[in-house]
């Protein structure tokens, strides 16, 4: 078990490294270096960067030195918690991102929980009552969920909310609590706004979980031990829930590894459509304004959070599934 977790952890470290290289590449790709664009930016604001200051910045980021040196210097700054300056906002990147990162986590986790809470029971129902009206309905909704890209779904819901209720369903907070400090009222407000983005983000994942659960459970239900259990006179609920569901659950748990990146990915674009105060709209704005330190940092942080989430789910999986535990020892 420890060996397994250790292997996953090493892989996670490699993944973080790969993401950091890609984030660095994103920062480096646009023409010109950070300092020249910083000077231009400051000049357009009417302030002048002294030669000495520019020189210091160049040394700090190792500009003009080979790529790998620049990368290492950037990494060193990051480890110390210095993500550079956001050009557009003229503030440190960490300050600009602020609570938006945590709101991204909240929205993603809510969507993930939703895929489980909805996907599991519906999948079980679909398998047990195969070819019933409910099964067909679940299959149909499932296909819609898989086929409609979530940002289009967001757009349609936004439109319907606007036309039918004349209400703006986007956002995560009511206007009066938008910039208020955290309080019980604000948390409650957040919880009230959370379901719509969570449903939009989680629908595709839910659809997939329903399909997987249904297929797995159908395979299990045909096995002889289920017939034995039934012939012994166990109640139907017990026949289904005691073993088949537990066995069918296993491959289901392992999909979390790629459900999470998918949801985080989707949250970016859905946030843009719904105007959620997550890192999504910030990333888009940063990219369009070529504010590369901000953009690179967001890509890096999102990637790292996803990797951590996946690692936690891997560990949970080992804990749930004795087969993996035994295999690896």
């Amino acid at each position: 078990m420890l060996a397994y977790i250790g292997r996953r952890a090493i892989l996670a470290i490699f993944t973080v490294w790969a993401i950091s290289v890609l984030a660095f590449a994103i920062i480096q790709l646009p023409p010109g270096d950070y300092v020249t664009s910083y000077i231009a930016q400051m000049a357009s604001m009417g302030s002048v960067v002294s030669d000495e200051e520019a020189q210091n910045l160049r040394i700090q980021y190792g500009l003009g030195q080979p790529m790998y040196v620049q990368y290492l210097k950037w990494m060193r700054l990051i480890v110390r918690g210095n993500f550079g300056m956001s050009m557009e906002w003229r503030r440190p990147v960490t300050e600009v991102i602020g609570e938006r990162l945590w709101l991204t986590v909240v929205v993603s986790v809510a969507a993930l929980i939703l895929t489980w809470v909805l996907g599991l029971p519906i999948g079980i129902y679909s398998a047990v009552r195969q070819y019933s009206v409910g099964d067909y309905l679940a299959t149909f909704v499932g296909f819609i969920g898989l086929a409609v890209p979530n940002f289009l779904l967001a757009l349609v819901l936004l439109y319907l909310g606007f036309v039918m209720f004349n209400a703006h369903i986007g956002g995560l907070f009511s206007p009066e609590l938008q910039d208020a400090p955290w309080s019980a009222a604000r948390v409650w407000d957040l919880l009230q706004h959370l379901p719509i983005p969570a449903v939009i983000l989680g629908l595709a994942g839910t659809a997939q979980q329903i399909r997987i659960m249904r297929a797995n459970l159908l395979d299990e239900l045909r096995k002889p031990y289920v017939v034995t259990a039934r012939s012994k006179g166990l109640s139907e609920a017990r026949v289904v829930l005691k073993y088949p569901v537990r066995v069918a659950l296993n491959p289901f748990a392992s999909t979390i590894g790629y459900t999470l990146p998918y949801i985080v990915s989707g949250s970016i674009i859905v946030s843009v459509v719904l105007g959620l105060p997550t890192v999504g709209p910030l990333l888009l704005k940063a990219l369009i304004a070529q504010d590369m330190f901000l953009a690179g940092t967001i890509v890096l942080l999102l990637g790292v959070m996803t990797v951590i989430g996946t690692l936690i789910s891997d560990i949970l999986l080992v804990w749930i599934d004795p087969r993996i535990r035994l295999e690896e020892t």
């Binding site: 993944t15 757009l155 703006h168 990915s265 888009l284 967001i298």
Partner: protein
């Protein structure tokens, strides 16, 4: 065949003949028979074919120049088409008159029932080249000589710049569906080569490639795509951006295909026919491409079909955000960009129409891919 079975019933002779046919059928025939039974997949296949026919004939299906903008006809609602004139089948529309509302300053359009405009089939319109070669002016629909379809017919309304949405949608379909096709081709090459290396050689190559796939799969793709797409130089031509976007999308999309290919290679490496091919002295290339690849070709085709919708959605999403293809290129995502603002959409809901082909195409590819996968699986139920 067992003797008594033949003696018992005449019907078993028929069954026997059918069985005989199954025995001699080629793999592709077996697949086709099984595929045919899956009605939804067959229907989806026809839809996909229709889509690609539309890709080839976009100029023919469009009746107005997709780039012809005119402020005088900005944000026109879709026109109502009257199919029968009295009892005769002769579709027509009413001419539209635009004016500015003195109170809201919005342009309002009113149909003018005194002015009927007949819609003609195979009429003449703007000039284009069939497959880029033969110049012609024929279009599926158009209006009488002397009138301009671009100024009189608005089947799906117009956008903010007054460009005809139907015609733009036809050209958008061309770009969105071909970008998916090119993207999937690049992914396929990467997937087959890397998946093949991984499955055929095993060992270190396998470990490295598998770990790389795992790493790629655990990275959230959209932020990464956005970053890479935003870094493309602004002065690139439409064509350069098109190919760059294709490559960006397929760089992360090959992992599923590689997994399928690797799985097949692993399963097949120890099969008798592969071992004997090796024993009679076939070269490695020959073993792979003459003996192994044909036997899982069908799986690759199914996996490719299932990979296409993801490509289409990725392109649409990127262009929708303004980071993918940029105007003057037309794609579904570029068209949907106009629908980003709720207020605009609430006033002009037809701007959301380009979402319909996205959804239909994605569904059709999914069902078709499912059907192909089931048909390709010899042990399927």
């Amino acid at each position: 065949m067992a003797e008594p079975a033949v003696a018992l019933e005449p019907t078993s002779a028929v069954a026997d003949a059918r069985e005989q046919r199954v025995f001699v059928a080629s793999q592709w025939q077996l697949m086709w028979w099984r595929f045919r039974k899956h009605k939804v997949a067959v229907a989806s296949g026809l839809i996909v074919i229709a889509f690609y026919a539309g890709v080839l004939g976009a100029d023919f299906l469009a009746y107005a120049d997709p780039d012809a903008s005119e402020a005088q006809r900005s944000l026109m609602p879709p026109q109502r088409v009257y199919w029968f004139d009295g009892w005769r089948f002769s579709p027509y529309v009413y001419a539209v008159k635009g004016a500015r509302d003195p109170q809201t300053f919005k342009r309002v359009y009113r149909a003018d029932p005194s002015q009927k405009i007949a819609i003609r089939f195979f009429a003449e319109g703007f000039e284009y080249r069939v497959f880029g070669l033969i110049a012609t002016t024929r279009h599926l629909i158009g209006v009488d000589r002397g009138l301009d379809a671009g100024e009189t017919v608005f089947l799906l309304g117009t956008d903010v710049q007054g460009r005809d949405l139907w015609s733009r949608l036809m050209y958008g379909t061309r770009i969105s569906l071909t970008i998916g096709l090119f993207g999937v081709t690049v992914s396929l090459v990467l997937g087959v080569v890397l998946g093949g290396l991984s499955g055929f050689y095993g060992g270190v190559a396998d470990t490295v490639i598998q770990r790389t796939i795992e790493i790629l799969r655990s990275i959230p793709t959209i932020p990464l795509w956005m970053g890479l797409a935003a870094a493309l130089p602004r002065d690139w031509s439409v064509l350069q951006v098109y190919f760059a976007i294709t490559i960006i999308i397929s760089l992360l999309g090959w992992t599923d295909l590689a997994r399928v290919v690797r799985g097949r290679f692993l399963a097949m490496r120890e099969e008798d026919f592969v071992v004997s091919a090796r024993l009679v002295g076939c070269s490695q290339m020959r073993t792979i491409f003459v003996h192994m690849v044909p036997s899982f070709m069908s799986h690759i085709i199914a996996a490719t079909t299932l990979a296409l919708p993801a490509m289409i959605i990725s392109e649409t999403a990127l262009s929708f955000l303004g980071l993918g293809l940029r105007p003057p290129a037309i794609s579904w995502g570029v068209l949907l960009q106009q629908a980003q603002n709720v207020q605009t959409v609430a006033i002009s809901p037809w701007l959301m129409i380009p979402a319909v082909p996205v959804i239909i195409a994605v569904m059709a590819f999914n069902f078709l891919g499912d059907g192909l996968r089931d048909a390709a699986d010899p042990y399927g139920r």
